[in-house]
Amino acid sequence: MSEADFSMEAHTTDLTVGPVFSIPTKKLAMWLFIIGDTMTFAACLVAYGFVRNGTSDWPRPFHSITNVALMTFILLTSSLTMLLALQSARAGDKAGAFRWTMITAVAGILFALLHVREWMGLIHQGMTLFKNPWGTGLFGASFFSITGLHLTHVTCGVIALIVVGVRYRGGRYNADDIEVLGLYWHFVDLVWMFVVPFVYLLNLAH
């Protein structure tokens, strides 16, 4: 065997190395995105905590928890419907997977509408990015930034749910794509678990 053959063999071996952690590439990419996005939200929440801690006249404008409780319930339930979509897809039930994916999208739209309604209520009371009638203007900036970033994620998720759902039904995507999308949707739900206590519940008027 010549030196060139050895070299060729080594090269071929390199090319046939399996995926990192034995995870499909799309799924690994989504996990890496989620890790990166975790840092983004964590940085926002840490910055919010910093200014809240360092400001003496931090407002507590929320009098009712009904809206945020309803939003939490809807988002948690949408995670369950996403899991049902994945299980249907894995079982080969195409119609069921499509139906659950669309139900998840509808829940996301409902969540976004409730969120916008809440924003409009606060804006109507005089709250903007830089000022509000209750205390430091930093409250509006941090509230709209964090909830706005989350709402953007929900909106992107709803669009992705519709696109992936329709393409899955058409046979262009498979159960793996539903799983990758599900990871993203559960992550959006996970972030909300931190936004609710820190941005809403810690600012309840007592």
């Binding site: 905590g49 910093f50 003496s56 995670s79 996970l190 206590p197």
Partner: protein, 103 residues
Amino acid sequence: MPTAERKSDGIKNDLVVYVCLLALAGLQFVIAYQHIDASHMFLRMLAVAIVEAGLAVMFFMHLWTEKRGFVLFVLIFTIFVLLGMQFGWTDSFRMVSGAPFSK
């Protein structure tokens, strides 16, 4: 195990985790109405949120079914960076108490 049976078992497990998450979310709302100071309230809410996040990551996102090396990669990297963000807190207390800048 047949596919239908496996699917039914999976749904049962997911439902249990879903109910747990709902209960923990409800617990956060209960904590919000407790008459305790803000720092205690924050710590309790943080603890509940971490448990919720752990359940969601492990069971909804199925991290526990992945290779152990990947689980360690995600956990160690994420926790390390999150802890790395906690350096500035003492400065936020300085802001509110009006202490001078360090020389």
